[in-house]
Amino acid sequence: MKFGVVVFPGSNCDHDCYYALSQVVGVETTLLWHQERDLKNCDAVVLPGGFSYGDYLRTGAIARFSPIMDSIRQFAQAGGLVLGICNGFQILLESGLLPGALLPNRSGHFICRFVYLRVENNRTPFTSLFQLGEVLKIPIAHNQGNFFASSTDIRSFLDNRQVVFRYCDSRGEVTEVSNPNGSLESIAGLTNCEGNVMGMMPHPERSAEEILGSTDGKKVFQSIVKWWEEKEIARK
């Protein structure tokens, strides 16, 4: 299996994702420059965190027009796996690959800290190694992670089980206090209807090694690998 990590100007978690995938998970990984259209036969694409185009104007607003996004749109429509992390999530929303929007954090500040997430759906390519309801420890680092959508949309996300991660406390309770940024329904991660595109604000690549304080993020990447390998076996 082969991963591609997109490099937009201003991405700053591209190398971290590359390291986590290639060195920690141990899967073939390549960097994809935003000006290119070739996805280099990747089986999964990661849009990393950072500040593409400085977040000038709006987060993700300018990156969505990069040439590579055309290819990613086609790739996703054909069922390809796309994971957007933090700024990558924001880009997916701006490009319409995921529904909704991310507003500035309720506190008005950037927040960098470990949070807890509850797994709401483990039947996605991104969470297949988790138990339903499992509590993960993964850091966030963002200014605009406050998820917003109309109440009817939110309803349908919940009904379709598109909500994959919710912010919770260490015991798995979803409370007002455990919501770091004001996201509606404490949404931290969301897939599209089909389930092959996921965006999440927390950073799995920052919690992929014991020395960084948690390995829960590693399992997000490993889930993708497992899901893909099983599909390959089924196909053969």
Partner: protein
């Protein structure tokens, strides 16, 4: 005409005798462009005329191989260069806190980038006036917002720093920023021009009229009352900086870049002349080729502009296009603006005419001054130990509550959570849980980094105060297992032409030099910021120390939080009856009197070695050096900084008899608080004996209360949850 030029020179801040010196160097009347170039290059900020001679006192070598060059210096460990430098952005931040602080981060990152290293961490040491004051709160919020805005966007984690409030910073805040970078030793790039005919390449943002004369005007003058002629402040563009970092590192990797320098203070003047001078050659520059943002810019404006996010490169003439292509790929300006010549000259042309022609060596060797020093009169008044007469309060629990929720002692979480301190995934001990440790991917070893200075100690005794800052920074590092390796500094003082201020400065330099030499720490880089004065007077002397250490096995790194119930809590080092300069006296009695605690460098060294030994053997569960707030605050930090708050019960009888306030809140140097599992206690004690450091077992961790007793009398007994909440939320609730 000559008379007019002399007037321009004086207006730009040059002294009469400096102007005369320029006449001698050139043998003619300088052109306005030349005057502008001299004025910035010889300014306090770039040329260090009032401080340079003292730098000779600093050790340039130490326990580890050191790099001490013209630019960012550093140390070398196992073939890896670790370069670091600190710089002030006080005056711009006072005027426009958000952009002032932001461009400070941008500038120091480019400084490190200019050495060819990848920036891997930033630190910020911040000093503001009293938090009761609205303007101080505005400045704090703006500065933190600016550092977050810039630092988070460029993807360099801001991992540590300091935050201190004191009325002396009311009209003049201090914003000191530090950056650290790493590169293979042989990949470092020189800051020089070389090889006749090679090209001078300008890359990054366009040049505008912003920040013109920033360093000569802004950083080299005091703030006056109701200042109208406010200097322009630059706007930070972290997006361009991020691209500049990647493009520059890519260009360096190509091998076609022969020299590089950031365009910081004094912009093109400084970068071009210093590259020429250190390459012992000259450069010829055509200003018509400089990418400019505004039309009709005068030569002197282009030469003085401090537009941000620019670098100057010396490029192999055969490979100009390859290098340009790299910058274009990242969407950056790249223009060949000149070439290297053999003569010792900086030649500046505009519209086909030579507008400046100055010997590079002379331009980069500003005059050196040694103004008079007088020991300030206040010193005897404030160092009279009058605190011994004060009557201690009766309820220590209440005092503790007040201390943990005070501006200076409460948790800094409100600050560091606004900074992305994890990007690059190297931060293995996070801010707030001890001294920060960074790993180096694929290496076993790691880096510890800290900054420190207590301005009140330095006010009461600049020499001793500075030594304490060095000792404390070293103790910070040793307590988590990092061996102190090198120092950078940022020396913030008042007007050097006032003899009492200058005396403070010289005392601090001497204290720093001696302590650094004693500990085997080279001073690899630094920065001097004078004229930190407002109509209320000078700031307290603040020689901020930035220190870097090496931890041999990064997996051994520990934090300050108690981690295991039932572990023994041990105080290393002696507690003396010392309260001078303490936070306790200031907060509880409004007293700022000395003398500050004694510092014994020999004992400090023994303690450092002991801590390093204990950590490397994996014998400690937690470790934290004592500083402001003394033993009581160290206990609080042990209890509340972990994932789950944990109680502790201690008995202080073994520390000897003295005032209870000194016991609890005294700030004696040379101490650390460690916790040890019962199985290791005997071994730890015998190692402490070997190092001749007293180790007093105070009690055990566990429960949900912080309990402090003396001779079985309860001094403090309080729920840790409550203390944790107070400590953590204090700062944000005061804002």
């Amino acid at each position: 005409m000559p008379e007019n030029n002399r007037k321009i020179a004086l207006e730009l801040g040059l002294q009469e005798e400096e102007y005369q010196k320029i006449l001698t160097i050139l043998g003619r009347t300088p052109t306005p462009t030349e005057i502008a170039m001299f004025s910035v290059e010889w300014s306090e900020h770039c040329g260090y005329p009032h401080s340079r001679k003292w730098f000779e006192l600093f050790p340039r070598e130490g326990n580890f191989a050191a790099l001490v060059g013209e630019d960012a210096g550093g140390i070398v460990y196992q073939g890896t260069a670790i370069v670091f430098k600190m710089e002030s952005h006080n005056h711009p931040s006072q005027v426009e806190p958000r952009q002032g602080a932001a461009t400070g981060i941008g500038g120091i990152i480019r400084d490190i980038l200019g050495s060819g290293a990848r920036p891997i961490a930033c630190l910020d040491s911040l000093h503001f006036g009293s938090l009761d004051d609205r303007r101080s709160r505005y400045l704090l919020k703006g500065v933190v917002d600016g550092i977050a805005f810039y630092g988070n966007c460029v993807g360099v984690p801001t991992v540590a720093g300091e935050l201190c409030f004191h009325p002396s910073f009311q009209g003049n805040c201090l914003v000191n920023v530090m950056c650290l970078g790493v590169a293979p030793r042989e990949a470092l790039a020189p800051a020089r021009a070389q090889g006749e005919g090679n090209l001078i390449l300008y890359v990054g943002n366009k040049t505008g009229r912003d920040g013109i004369g920033g360093c000569s005007v802004l950083a080299s003058q005091e703030f006056g009352e109701g200042e109208e002629k406010r200097p322009s402040v630059q706007i930070g563009d972290p997006f361009t900086e991020k691209c500049l970092i990647e493009a520059t590192l890519e260009a360096l990797e190509s091998g076609y870049v022969l020299g590089i320098k950031d365009m910081g203070a004094a912009g093109l003047t400084c970068s071009s002349s210093e590259m020429a001078a250190s390459g012992e050659c000259g450069v010829e520059i055509d200003l018509n080729r400089v990418p400019v943002r505004e039309e009709n810019m005068e030569a002197w404006e282009i030469m003085m502009s401090e537009s941000q996010e620019r670098m100057l490169l010396c490029v192999d003439k055969e490979h100009e296009q390859q290098v340009i292509d790299i910058f274009h790929k990242w969407g950056l300006e790249a223009a060949t603006i000149g070439r290297v010549i053999t003569q010792d000259k900086v030649v500046i042309k505009q519209r086909g005419e030579v507008v400046a022609q100055i010997p590079a060596q002379a331009l980069t060797q500003p005059p050196v001054y040694d103004p008079p020093q007088i020991k300030p009169a206040y010193l005897d008044e404030v160092n009279d130990a009058r605190w011994r007469k004060i009557f201690p309060p009766s309820d220590w629990g209440e005092v503790l509550t007040k201390m943990v929720s005070s501006p200076n002692l409460s948790s800094r979480r409100w600050v560091y959570e606004q900074y992305d301190h994890m990007v690059q995934t190297n931060t293995v001990v996070l801010p707030g849980s001890g001294t920060v440790i960074l790993r180096i991917k694929d290496e076993k070893w790691g880096i510890g980094v800290t900054s420190d200075c207590n301005p009140v100690y330095c006010y009461l005794d600049p020499y001793r105060g500075t030594q304490i800052a060095v000792a404390e920074a070293a103790r910070n590092l040793a307590s988590v297992g990092a061996r102190p390796a090198g120092i950078t500094d940022c020396l913030n003082f008042g007007n050097p032409q006032k003899p009492d201020r200058y005396w403070q400065f010289v005392q601090a330099i001497k204290g720093l030099a001696e302590a650094a030499r004693f500990f085997g720490l080279p001073v690899v880089s630094g920065n001097v910021s004078f004229y930190n004065e407002s109509p209320q007077g000078a700031v307290h002397p603040t020689p901020t120390i930035g220190m870097v250490g090496i931890i041999e096995d990064v997996n051994r790194a520990i934090s300050s939080s108690f981690t295991q119930e039932g572990s023994w809590v041990i105080l290393l080092g002696d507690t003396k009856e010392e309260l001078g300069g303490s936070e306790y006296l200031q907060l509880m009695f409004g007293l700022e009197v000395g003398p500050p605690p004694e510092v014994n460098l020999e004992t400090e060294r023994k303690l450092q070695n002991l801590l390093l030994d204990l950590v490397s053997r994996g014998l400690l569960l937690s470790s934290l050096d004592l500083s402001e707030g003394g033993l009581a605050l160290a206990l609080v930090e042990g209890c509340v900084t972990g994932e789950q708050a944990m109680g502790v019960k201690v008995e202080l009888e073994s520390l000897g008899s003295m005032r209870e306030d000194a016991l609890l809140f005294g700030e004696s140097c040379g101490r650390a608080l460690v916790s040890v599992s019962p199985a290791c206690l005997a071994q730890v004690q015998s190692i402490c004996e070997k190092y001749e450091i007293p180790a007093r077992v105070l009690g055990k961790t566990g429960g949900d209360k912080l309990v402090v007793e003396k001779s079985s009398r309860v001094l403090i007994s309080t729920k840790v949850d409550k203390i944790a909440r107070l400590w953590t939320d204090a700062l944000s609730s005061l804002l």
